[in-house]
Amino acid sequence: MRVLGLILAGGKSDKLWPLTKVRASAAVPVFGKYRAIDFTLSNMVNSGIKKVGIITQYNPRSLMDHLGSGKEWDLDRKSGGLFILQPYVGPNRETWYHGTADAIFQNMTILRRGEEDYVLIGSGDHIYKMVYKDMFSYHIRKGADVTLLVKELDETYNLSEYGIVQLDGDMRIVEIEEKPTNPKGNLAFLGVYFMNKNLLMELLYATVPHGKYDLLLDVVIPNLHNLKVYAYKFNGYWRNVKKGIHEYYRINMDILKKEVREELFYKNGKVYTKLKDLPPPKLTSTAVVENSLIADGSIIAGTVRNSIIFRNVWIKVGAVVENSIIMENTVVEEGAVLKNVILDKNCVVREGQIVVDERGIPVFEKRAVV
């Protein structure tokens, strides 16, 4: 089965500000060395997909730098490989993408040219590990036109922020309510579509030229009765970084749980990311490190508890970092105390500075000096 992968990574996210000041939400750093998009991209590669198009729009520099030629994902190929699909100026248009359906429509060539029979559409913002192969066979077994990935969300999710799905007895989707104020259930659509490529092309031709630009709202939902749209249930860990700073913080802290680490890092293939060629992390004689993730190139001489330390971070003697996320190339100087904070890349926390917030989660933007 030949499947084309498409990843929607153009999103601008105000909820993640200021982390998204310098990057698209799919490029926000997570878990010490990864970017959000690494998960969906690795899932696709681990499912045997050899051609992946990444649809970008909002500030793509960081994302493009990260993806490069796709060699870390084995996508630097003569046939297939990685395609970055950016908005462009052509003879017939001079605008940005108006929505997800429009974005794919504007890149119809990648659909038209390939020899793939199916398309898997995912999002660069989602953190989960999955090999899609069972979903593919489910799609065929059900004779579905479209298969959507769904999951029962527990009380830790705000259901009003998700698309809530109603099924019939055969798992066919009869209704999708996008971001309902009073959700009728807890089965949510996870933003992953699987469908026949030609069908997708037809649907796009029928909608986008008429000013209908959203893949879910304008293409899938109005066709629930004409098309066989089935739900495929996912039971593993799944979260969306784009939902806000609190959700972003929660996701990062979740990785300190053994079962989440096992699932996200070690099950269903590896997570690939851009390599940085840094030496192993070093803990000096004054280091106290508890329940934390420490990435390559970091030197820890202070105290670190319940925190995520990215690559090339320096925590100096006497500094205390608790319940925090410290991104790449940041230096926390002697005696500084940080609790419940997020420091973006290349920050400096000066000697003796104390930032402790018991209620909120202060975020310091890239290159901040505290």
């Binding site: 878990f31 010490g32 060395k33 990864y34 060699k71 870390e72 300190l256 680490r261 890092f265 590896k270 997570v271 690939y272 990311t273 390599l275 060629d277 840094l278 030496p279 192993p280 992390p281 070093k282 803990l283 000096t284 004689s285 004054t286 280091a287 106290v288 490190v289 508890e290 329940n291 934390s292 993730l293 420490i294 990435a295 390559d296 190139g297 030197i299 995520i308 330390i309 990215f310």
Partner: protein, 423 residues
């Protein structure tokens, strides 16, 4: 500057590393938490802008060849030049196994010819150091030398382990002693040579046809050039960290030096990075109940126990209540709960059961080979499985691929060994 081609001698067995080189060549021996020895020389080449590199392999080359691949991690996957593995081959004439370092280069003169070599850098694949070879080559050109040898002053008492240079005031080598009992100087050769290609070709051809030669650079070629005044050799003084981690003891010491607050060898220099082919792994995780000090803990490792003064490679698991002291634990080794491991080198993919103690008791002379296993350190070879509750003393050797069935007793006293007999 002429066209530079580097030849890395990577065929060495490294017999004094004991079970560590049972299955792999010395240049493939892991070092510093994520590297293999050859990474340092390869990285020095690319950091010096040298992108034509031949790697001469011979002894157990599989791991080494897989590690180097097409040279991607070092940016040596090039259309023009790049890295090439040069194994021994059988030709129509007399080509055969490499008889010595000089013979190995001689058999690959064609490779140098093809790459239009004008200056040839002869390097060792098993040294740990950071050197900008351009400084060496510039010195070589400045002196208008036929060959230049990188040297370092070593303590006089260690001089007899090295090739010793005696130079005039200009740095020209006037006498050479290979591992002398009574060294005339303490200027030691580091096994790093630069030659003008035409000159090298000439001296190697002569050496090849000398029936009394063992075809080694240090033993035969260099002494002949100096003694018979074949050409001008100069000594380039290198001041910096350089180690030939040739023995178990020096291997252990140089690894543990890396955990010092200001290590003599800097892996963290952003202007001189060391590249390696490493597996993609998540960041290291240190558990709430763990205590880790004075150590390197590489990516993919999960530590639930106590670690001090140790180098932990990638993907290592250290269970609850286990204590690791003054040790080197290599890639993907798993240590159970409540183990005690001290003064040990544990190779790759080893499994150690709960409650095992390694490196305990009084030191004793090795019953296996006191020249290789000189004391204190216990070494466990790769892929071995040590069942729970075993007690292993000091200066012991557990070979490669040992299974729980091989343990006839729960105790291996100091100095003893457990090695699979060849079938």
């Amino acid at each position: 500057m002429g066209n530079v081609v580097a030849m890395i001698l990577a065929g060495g067995q490294g017999t004094r590393l004991g079970v560590l080189t049972e299955k792999i060549a010395k240049p493939a021996v892991p070092f510093g938490g994520k590297y293999r020895l050859i990474d340092f020389t390869l990285s020095n080449c690319v950091n010096s802008g040298i992108y034509r590199v031949g790697v001469l392999t011979q002894y157990k080359p599989h791991v080494l060849a897989k590690h180097i691949g097409i040279g991607k991690p070092w940016d040596l996957d090039r259309k023009d030049g790049g890295v090439q593995i040069l194994p021994p081959y059988i030709g129509r004439g007399d080509s055969d196994w490499y008889k010595g370092t000089a013979n190995a280069v001689y058999q690959n003169l064609e490779y140098l010819e093809e790459n239009d070599a004008e200056i040839v850098l002869i390097l060792s694949g098993d040294h740990v150091y950071a050197m900008n070879y351009n400084d060496l080559i510039e010195y070589h050109l400045l002196k208008k030398a036929d060959g230049t040898i990188a040297c370092m002053e070593v303590p006089m008492e260690e001089a007899s382990r090295f090739g010793i240079m005696i130079t005039d005031l200009d740095g020209k080598i006037v006498d050479f002693q290979e591992k002398p009992e009574r060294p005339k100087s303490n200027l030691a050769s580091l096994g790093i040579y630069v030659f003008n290609y035409e000159f090298l070709k000439e001296v190697l051809s002569e050496d090849e046809h000398d029936p009394n030669s063992s075809h080694d650079f240090g033993k035969d070629v260099i002494p002949r050039i100096v003694n018979e005044k074949k050409g001008n050799l100069y000594a380039f003084r290198f001041e910096g960290y350089w180690r030939d981690v040739g023995t178990i003891r020096s291997y252990w010491e140089s690894n543990l030096e890396l955990v010092l607050p200001l290590p003599p060898f800097n892996l963290y220099d952003p202007n001189w990075r060391f590249f390696t082919h490493s597996e993609e792994m998540p960041p290291a995780y240190i558990a709430p109940e763990a205590r880790v000090v004075m150590s390197l803990v590489s990516e993919g490792s999960e530590v639930y126990g106590f670690v001090s003064n140790s180098v932990i490679f990638q993907g290592v698991r250290i269970g609850k209540g286990s204590v690791i002291k003054n040790s080197i634990i290599m890639t993907k080794t798993e240590i159970g709960e409540n183990c005690h491991i001290e003064n040990a080198i544990i190779a790759e993919n080893v499994r150690i059961g709960d409650g095992t103690r390694i490196g305990v008791g009084e030191d004793a002379r090795s019953k296996l080979d006191p020249k290789v296993y000189t004391g204190l350190l216990t070494v466990v070879g790769m892929n071995s499985i040590i069942p729970g509750g075993v007690v292993i003393g000091k200066n012991c050797v557990i070979g490669v691929d040992i299974t729980p069935e091989d343990f006839k007793s729960k105790e291996i006293p100091s100095g003893d060994f457990l090695i699979k007999q060849e079938e």
